[in-house]
Symmetry: C2
């Protein structure tokens, strides 16, 4: 966030090495993401993560000013990857099938990265404190996600494929809550099929005429 220095493509070794640092930072982030996704997260310390990515604790903190910044950046990158994977973007045209499928895709993907689910949940709690470095990240992320979702919902309601007995903003909130809440259940019981539950809710809220199954 602070170090937004764009590259100064390697003309001289000095300045070139700066761009390399940025690249390495990205690589480290990606690597950390993979490790947490695969091996899980249990209140991981910087040292644990450093070992996992093949750096010393000090070496890892060289790229991030603090532990919290590190973890926040990991989640940011995860979002980046997820929104690409799901094709559910702010710029995407709102469409009912897109919404449903995009949402289910993300949720299905979550089941493959339990460590990230855990990190996300943990940081959500810590970030409740307005002083926490990740507080803004979460509030903004949640607000954005809901507004995108509400748009899709409104569209679906206009199409008549989704019940209009609840207003779009509230329903968007519900879906977000379901997603987060199911992750809590999933952490306790990794066998839970989160996507199936969400799909069932979609169907229950869909209008009989616009049945998606």
């Amino acid at each position: 966030m602070s170090d937004r220095t764009t590259e100064g493509a390697g003309t001289s070794p000095k300045r070139g090495s700066y761009a390399k640092g940025v690249a390495k930072r990205e690589e480290t982030l990606t690597r950390a993401l993979e490790v947490i996704a695969r091996e899980g997260y249990r209140g991981a310390s910087v040292k644990e993560l450093a070992d996992a990515v093949g750096l010393s604790q000090a070496g890892l903190l060289h790229y991030f000013n603090s532990k919290e910044e590190l973890f926040t950046e990991i989640l940011r990158k995860r979002d980046e990857q997820d929104s690409l994977a799901a094709g559910l973007d702010i710029n995407a045209a709102p469409d009912h099938a897109d919404m449903r499928d995009g949402f289910l895709t993300i949720i299905r993907h979550n089941a493959d990265v339990p460590g990230l689910v855990q990190l996300f949940a943990r940081l959500s709690v810590d970030a409740a404190d307005p002083q926490h470095p990740a507080h803004r990240f979460f509030t903004e992320r949640n607000t954005l996600l809901r507004s995108v979702f509400a748009e899709h919902i409104a569209r679906s309601q206009q199409q008549g494929t989704l019940t209009d007995r609840i207003d779009p903003d509230t329903l968007a909130r519900v879906f977000q809550a379901v997603a987060d809440g199911l992750q809590v259940q999933f952490m306790l019981d990794p066998d839970l099929d989160m996507a199936a539950v969400v799909a069932a809710l979609f169907d229950a809220l869909g209008t009989p005429s616009g049945d998606q199954r």
Copy 2:
């Protein structure tokens, strides 16, 4: 786990001066509950809590073998109080209005105790590890809650006041997820009216004929 003496069904006080210790333990628990509810929880240490309840750290740990046991017991007591407050008990007769009202009452109450919401959320995450002392507490609690809820739901569906386009167990899971997820949103934005969202969902899932509003 080792010291089950104070555990078990509280039928009659055990023998001798032992009973006084149990009573004090209960009192301490209640006091800790109040403090957290009122003043909040931010990864509170045993010492912080000890200060708050007017004991030294060692004095507090005298009643609980470990920090985790202490926090788990706090949540257990909270459940105890809540289920009394809501009248939503395993023994209560399943009825649609009861379910809706009981559920909303609990959720409304949560808004008054943000510290407990935070403690609960935090411990939920930590307890994801099967080795965590609170792991069983959460799995069993969740399973029980859902089964009670599923019963109420099935009843409502038979009465025709709730849609039957989703099966009771799944819908129970949805409601639990909504409750947990809304708490996450609430932590980030204390102005959120959780009960209103849940009420809207109830209404959206209710049959037009059995409208509750």
